[in-house]
Symmetry: C2
DNA sequence: ATGCATACTATCAGTTTGATATATGGAAAC
DNA sequence: GTTTCCATATATCAAACTGATAGTATGCAT
């Protein structure tokens, strides 16, 4: 399940350009599988070379040509193989948590700044999910709904944890602030 | 906050070899910041070249020499700069969720397999955290405890969500299984 | 008129991944 | 007794990915 495979999967719901796929990644997909142009364009080129997708050039006035990719039968087969993988990975790369691991080397202010920023990002993410909403019509949306719900659950848990436990990181610096400010 | 910076941070609690750092990454750090030999060794070499760490060769009998790295004053300064970054990232790369996004292209059995596998991994992770336990003695452990707690919270939320919602992915395939099996 | 956003493509240095190689000693399996 | 596996320790490499940058055109705001 690399970027190539995910692109292949996205193309099952219709032909699209690299630009389209990027927007797709940015909206719903973005939070759990990041991909930029630097990986999408090479992925599409490689897929075309292997015959898993075909490319059609659509000239446009005043804009660069759109290169619209469609999945082939071979591409569908390849995708099915990838979906048979029994042990898919799930990796987190968090500068945020890595920083807070070293919280004892940070100032009270620095800690608050990074936590506030993270809470902000989580809120933005939850808002995005709300705007998207769930789709109850198409059967092919069950997966998307499930994943969106997963995102909601994790984001909420993240938010709650940060709000309820941030005091443990600044308590050592402020020493019994609660009674001192009365 | 790349691998270099995290290595620098780990070295603040004592000199260590690349092998030691790998074990460190694998145990407590592993779940939110993955790093293999392929990134650790080059990171240490690069840090040594920049004068942010020093290296001491310790010959051993029957085993390759240990290269033990220590952080320098310049290294500490560099680390402090990195810890001042106000907007640390937090990225997820989930083949698991990417697969389930395409659940409508998967068989009932495939879906159950990947969810069972993920639940297994989450349980292993929670067990690992329990074995590690919290350290209440050193002030420098507040960050580690906070991060471990975060991991516990997220893992628990993940487990609950998967257990409570997996039925939505297989319901379409089994159609009213609940009453049919009575 | 200058800057910025949208629409579209594409490249590239630097970083990371995951597998593999090398070498030895000890424990466990057969 | 010997093969096989694991732990200790280093290191490299192709393939993949990141994040920034670049180019080209339209339109909209300031």
């Amino acid at each position: 399940m690399d970027v190539k495979t995910v692109c292949l999967g996205m193309l099952t719901s219709g032909a699209a350009s690299g630009y389209d796929l990027k927007k797709y990644f940015e909206s719903s997909f973005g939070h759990f599988f990041v991909a930029g142009y630097g990986s999408i364009y090479p992925a599409l080129s490689s897929l075309a070379e292997s015959g898993l997708v075909t490319c059609r050039d659509i000239p446009q006035e005043g804009k660069p040509d759109r290169k619209v990719y469609s999945i082939t039968a071979a591409g569908r087969q390849e995708l099915m193989c990838a979906l048979a993988k029994p042990k898919p990975g799930h990796k987190v790369r968090s500068e945020f948590l890595a920083m807070l691991w070293f919280a004892h080397l940070m100032s009270h202010e620095q800690i608050n700044t990074v936590i506030d920023y993270r809470l902000d990002e989580v809120d933005k993410f939850l808002d995005m999910l709300d705007e998207l909403g769930d789709c109850d019509e198409h059967e092919e949306c069950t997966g998307a709904n499930f994943v969106a719900g997963f995102g909601r659950a994790i984001a909420t848990a993240c938010k709650n944890y940060l709000e309820e436990n941030r005091h443990t990181l600044v308590a050592g610096k402020t020493k019994e602030l609660k009674s001192a400010t009365g």
